[in-house]
Amino acid sequence: MRLLTYNFLQCPKTKTFPLILEPTQVETIETEYNKEFILRMIPRLDWNLVRQVSRQFAFGELPQVAPKESTEDEETFRLLHKMLLETHIKEGVLKSQDGTIYPIKDGIPNMLITQVNDE
């Protein structure tokens, strides 16, 4: 799971957002930089959460206001690319406020809330 996806996740049971992310294994996988993609994602993100994640993962302090197309701040766009698209959570847990734990194993978060009946 990339940090981009984490930024979009809410608890499927209580609908609370955000979930608390406690990683135990993190991996960086490089990918081609695409500023246009980052710009398109910014309006879909909760900027306060992005700033918090940046601190949690030691990427440093992000500006208070989300950058726009006209913002001449290449450094911030590069940082967002590295953080959101190249940082993968391999192992860890996602926690909801009601105490529900969603485990992340081998990079796959398990967001199931009801036992699936496959009979």
Partner: protein, 207 residues
Amino acid sequence: MQLWQIEELLADLKTFENPNIFWEQYTTPPHIAAFLVQIAENSFGDLKGKLVADLGCGTGMLCAAMHYFGANSIVGIDVDESALAIAKVNTIQCGLPVELLQSNITELPFNSAVFDTVVMNPPFGTRRKGIDVVFLEKAIEIVYPGGSIYSLHKTCTRSYLYRKILQRKCEGEVLGKFIFNLSKTFAFHRMESMDIEVDLWRLKRKK
């Protein structure tokens, strides 16, 4: 790469070992997967540089097809752990830029409409009546205004789906029809193989 080359790569993917009847697990035939994604990218530019979701990704056939047509941000979602385990093997072996997530499609964990494009081959609803429409409704919920949905549905549901779609914030059209050959996957299939007519739909969420 040529279409036939992509079909060959897709034919090499690992597929279901013990398909689950209830979830109507069958693999999208490689030529249909390749055709679908070819239209999505070459006619509409809906894959390259886009954030794409595959609802009910199974073993990752459509995810892989999308990758070969330029998608590099794909999230494959499925309820079944064993399908995801096979999808994981496929993503590693083929070096696919695919993230996998385990979730029930009826209880998706996204906080808003975040995807540019949704591509899926949902269950036809033969085991659970109406599940095909539920998949469409969920896809509409998670696709960003202006985004597109590609989905395969039995041709016999076409007029029903047109009416359903008209009630929602999207436009829909059938791009083509396929003959889907389901080989005898499950015990309840009486015939060795069965041809069913399937429509490829494209829905566009209004801005």
